[in-house]
Symmetry: C2
DNA sequence: ATGAAAGCGCTAACAG
DNA sequence: CTGTTAGCGCTTTCAT
């Protein structure tokens, strides 16, 4: 059916030019100790003969795969899309390939992915943990083998592995403070069923803001969920059943906030006047829901770039860890209508 | 810094067991002509010694990369996320790795990606074209070399390459028919600036429905956009400026429909009573916008599975193309409030 | 059922 | 600046 022409190797070029394969190889990789003329000639004929280098062979020789593994919870967000664009940019410039797997926020799947990546001999790993991952044992084999691993967004505190994240404590503090300044006194906190480091940091920011504004922390106002839109609906039921109705909600992601808002509206609750809302992430649904959802925005593109750059630097033994081995990315509060009460107290 | 223990090779296992590397190799790949006992012994010691096969070496030898390239316009939709889950499932079962690139719906980027994938010697390619891609020249090198290529969703009509898609003509026909049955007489069509095969099919379905219901097709009701949320806002301006206000809109994707709805609502237009709306894709924003957007749903997971399975079959020379070399996936109308007029004519 | 040997295409000492 | 040589780890004839 097909007649693929024979692949050209460096030997073909060498023969053609009456030089050695070694020189061709060196010329092709732009080695400094090769005569400029030969270099030029080699590159020209390579072009003409339709040569494409065989990464498999060179990788085998160099004992590197040139593949970076990316493990994320879920690809379905503009944030993640941007992260990947940032990562791809840096990695393709550094001549690495990217293989992507999503754990669907399932720890079991994450473990399987880790093993698969290990067997596939990735040169490095970029990881944003599943929501319910509580330890990083399944990544130990990489650390042991000296395969660099960089966390981003949902990181695991580990001195061996750098992490890029935003200051979740601060962002959560600010958004809670914002709700308080809008007059909220009883603020529900919607968080993850299992407290990842991200969830925990946001929880702490929330608590700290309450403390600073002399509002007692009330455990009965904390709702633990799986953070999907449907779980937001459930959270709304919980809120409606509360004997003492809250006047604000800070959810640690937009999906749960949006689900919750929709359900409360159905029950006749006025947003923001009865209950003000804030989410986290600035997903596209945050700008579509009515009222528009106040949330925290951070640039995925930059986070992807940073994480990938650190990985490349580590691969080149060119990385000097900052204090705590953590990089902090800027984030910003995005205030929309969901949090702006008309009647200030 | 790190002391990675030496990697175990088949030679280590061979020496350990006093047999030849060839036998170890065969045992490991479960070759039939090797004694069951030796097979067992080999597999056990491999386990014990912590052996992991070196894909680089085996791939070099076999002249295959075991890598499949995936090229998509954009990862940011639950549809795409599901596609990838489906693809990953099939490919990982068949022992292939997946490298993913997004063109961001930019033909220039798509061309670059194609070249990179070619140089990386992918064994096969899964492609959903960028919105503005009009030909497939940049994929010809693959076809020439006999590297199988399977299109999905946004396909290019090509007898050499199978395509998996939904019946866009039919789906568009049905959704237009639905609007007509709701009493719409002047239905705007929001489509792509450049008519890909997908856009064209939907356009044709729209026209056919009009024809069948004796509604004259009116070119001035067609709005060509880039299909983002912002472009939907623009489309709303166009609609508001129309001398003879339409009473329905069928947009070929949800994002443009949602942007358009938001802007029209701002201008006081009642949805659906003044103007009924329908989109396409069933993105998460479609269920969040108010009123909920009527749209077309199709299961990405199945589409991903199908496309990947065809690719694997082609790689195994195990594929018999159906008529037209196209696979059609079921799709379904999802009726929400945006299209249900209260007052029937 | 097993082994010997060659080679996939490239790179990296080392020598000149 | 260039060539020689060896080998990365595996698979696969071809023997036995």
């Amino acid at each position: 059916m097909d007649t693929p022409e024979k692949e050209i190797t460096i030997y073909d070029i060498a023969r053609h030019l009456n030089i050695s394969a070694a020189t061709v190889s060196r010329a092709l990789m732009d080695h400094p100790s090769v005569n400029v003329n030969t270099k030029q000639k080699v590159q020209e004929t390579a072009q003409q003969m339709g040569y494409r280098s065989n990464h498999l062979a060179s990788n085998l020789r160099k004992k590197r795969s040139n593949i970076i593994g990316l493990v994320v919870g879920n690809l379905d967000s503009s944030f993640m899309t941007n992260i990947i664009v940032g990562i791809e940019k840096v990695l393709s410039e550094a001549n690495y390939n990217l293989i992507i797997s999503q754990s669907l926020d399932n720890i079991g799947k994450e473990i399987k992915i880790a093993r698969a990546m290990y067997n596939n001999r990735v040169d490095g790993l970029l990881v944003s943990l599943a929501y319910d991952t509580e330890n990083a044992e399944h990544f130990e084999s990489f650390v042991k083998r000296g395969i660099p691993l960089v966390y981003f967004d949902r990181i695991f505190p580990d001195n061996n592995c750098p992490g890029v994240e935003i200051d979740n404590v601060k962002a959560a503090y600010e958004i809670t403070e914002h709700l308080i300044q809008q007059g909220c006194k009883r603020i529900v906190h919607v968080t993850a069923y299992r407290l990842s480091s991200v969830a925990l940091d946001r929880f702490n920011g929330y608590k700290q803001a309450l403390l600073d504004y002399n509002i007692p922390f009330d455990e009965s106002l904390v709702i633990y969920t799986h953070l999907g839109i449907e779980d937001g609906v459930q959270a709304a039921q919980t809120i409606l059943a509360m004997p003492n109705r809250p006047d604000g909600v800070f959810a640690i992601n937009d999906a749960s906030a949006v689900g919750c808002i929709k359900e409360l509206k159905k029950a006749g609750v006025k947003i923001p006047d009865d209950i003000a809302f804030a989410g986290f992430n600035n997903d596209s649904i945050a700008s579509i829901v009515e009222p528009g959802l106040t949330t925290v925005n951070y640039k995925g593109y930059e986070m992807g770039e940073m994480a990938a750059q650190i990985l490349v630097d580590k691969l080149n033994n060119n990385y000097t860890p900052p204090a705590g081995n953590k990089l902090i990315l800027k984030s910003e509060l995005v205030v929309r209508e969901s949090s702006q009460k008309k009647k200030r107290k």
